[in-house]
Amino acid sequence: MAQATSPPDAAPGEDARARRHSTDAAGLGRVRAALFTAPALALIAVFLVFPALWVLYLGLTTYRLTGADAAEPQFVGLDNFVEALWDPAFWDSTWLTVEFVLGSAVVGQVGLGFTIAWLLRDRRGPLKRLVEGLVILAWILPSAVVSFLWVALLDRDSGTLNALLGIPGFPWLLDHPMLSIVVFNTWRGTAFSMMLYGAALGNVPPSHLESARLAGATGWQQLRDVVFPHIKGHVLTNLLLISLWTFNDFTPFMLTAGGPDGRSEVLAVHVYKVAVQSGELGYGAALSTIILLINLVVAVFYLRLLRSKR
């Protein structure tokens, strides 16, 4: 009987031909892949990386929009950073931003987005389309319009909310400015999380859920043991993007203008006030750099958290 096991002396030498043979699905190969990415990277290099580096540099100067420092900005090294770190207003803004991101992005948008996706996961038909349509509407309407809608909703005297609750004169934006912008931003941004989780849940094999249910798992246990492992990658993408976006979201300015008395002055608004209203572009650039570093820490934290956790 013929033995077909491989002869041990067959030389497995590197075949040169194999190298120019691309093994990705479409046979792109590295050269073509590089060509595919080149236009995007070129545009990003010119219109994103270059100005971003410029901002980093401006952060080291006293550059101002007007005045003598506009004509001849001084290089001051890390002075702006030191100033920011000693400025209580900066720290107040930072904590408010953390509150804003945790409240509206992580809890609000992720929580509500996932809840809606979960509720509607096996549904079809008009109800699903209606809910999804409204949620997405809140997301795509221009912010100039949306901010007016919310001012009208929360208005002290003639706002819809107070009329419904029967508490005319309740100043939401004054007494609960953070709550207001957190709820607002939840309303505004839930669509992204909802769509992402909707698609992700569609990829969880129903058999896994059924077997968990048969094993007597509670709803929460099903989520944790079956659903979460499947959608972990999506959770990471989602958290990264919405945290980044929320961190840099300027829209709260249009509701509260950072007020009252700076009690809703998140970092993006703080930077606007510094850079545009006061014209301190150097200091504003330094603040932007600090925000970048905070974002970096947040991103690394998410990556660690979701990579390590099984």
């Binding site: 590089a34 994103l48 971003a52 349509g133 309407l141 100039a144 319009v145 993408t237 990264l240 932007s288």
Partner: protein, 284 residues
């Protein structure tokens, strides 16, 4: 059985709350433009309404007439369409090519690169970047040019678009492309015949996302386009104020409604035609 009924009740209660939450703020937008003297109060526009305080107001088309007569309002919507369509087309095209290559071919350092670009994009979309971007546009002679604005906006949106699209493509099975490849299709044919149709919902979603972003962007168009005849609706919206900074609610509410209609139509079109999804997992 009781549990089932309670579950149903709970489900509909939750859905009702969600619906109310997302509908409530929109009421003003659909009522105020039709009322004679809009305030922040939501009043039902009725012919002959507004005399008592029963939550009604006199119905009128006057606000729409005023917007139509406004010299820049309607042209600005056309400008918005040009800018957002141009940006969305460029973003989708470049991001799709890059995301596909990054998804299918292991280029060194691709993940780190994407994260870095994503972080940098947050700087560029912030207010502190106005000077570098403006100066850059001046140096490249792109001031007052729609093309320049489109390029700058595209640069800011591309990293997130690539990031999202790569995620989408990562979750698309590779066997379709391999199959086409075995049949002899070239990489470009594969992209055209197979990949683009397969990820079309993702492309459409990114396009909508890009349009929505550009549609609402005020600062960059305002700074980079000085010719009012090129300025988009976002800029015009901000001019509907008086000398002392009071909102002209008559114009604002009405223009806000008109300003919202195109994006809503686009969403409806896209969701009907392509489905509106952020993630792969091809339906068979």
């Amino acid at each position: 059985m009781i549990r089932f009924v309670l579950g149903r009740i709970g489900f509909y209660a939750l859905v009702a709350v969600v619906l109310a939450f997302f509908t409530l703020p929109l009421l003003w937008l659909v009522t105020a433009p039709f009322t004679a003297d809009p305030t922040y109060e939501v009043r039902v526009p009725l012919p002959g309404g507004g005399r008592g305080d029963g939550g009604t107001a006199a119905f009128t088309w006057d606000n729409f007439r005023a917007v139509l007569e406004h010299p820049y309002a309607l042209p600005s919507l056309y400008n918005s369409v040009l800018l957002s369509a141009g940006t969305a087309a460029l973003v989708v095209l470049l991001a799709a090519l890059a995301a596909y290559a990054l998804s299918r071919v292991r280029l060194p350092g691709r993940d780190a690169l994407l994260y870095v670009l994503l972080l940098l994009s947050s700087i560029i979309t912030g207010t502190a970047a106005i000077v570098p971007l403006f100066q850059l546009a001046v140096e490249l002679d792109l001031i007052d040019s729609r093309l320049g604005l489109v390029l700058i906006l595209t640069g800011g949106l591309l990293p997130a678009a690539i990031f999202m699209l790569k995620d989408f493509m990562d979750s698309t099975p590779k066997s379709y492309e391999e199959s086409a490849r075995v049949f002899g299709a070239s990489p470009l044919q594969i992209v055209r015949h197979v990949v683009v149709p397969l990820v079309r919902p993702g492309l459409a979603t990114i396009a909508v996302w890009a349009v929505a972003n550009v549609w609402g962007n005020f600062l960059m168009p305002y700074l980079l386009l000085s010719d009012v005849e090129k300025q988009p609706a976002a800029v015009i919206t901000y001019t509907l104020y008086t000398e002392g900074g009071q909102a002209n609610l008559r114009l604002l509410s009405t223009f806000g409604l008109l300003y919202s209609v195109p994006v809503v139509l686009m969403y409806l079109f896209v969701s009907k035609k392509y489905g509106f999804r952020f993630h792969g997992g091809i339906k068979r």
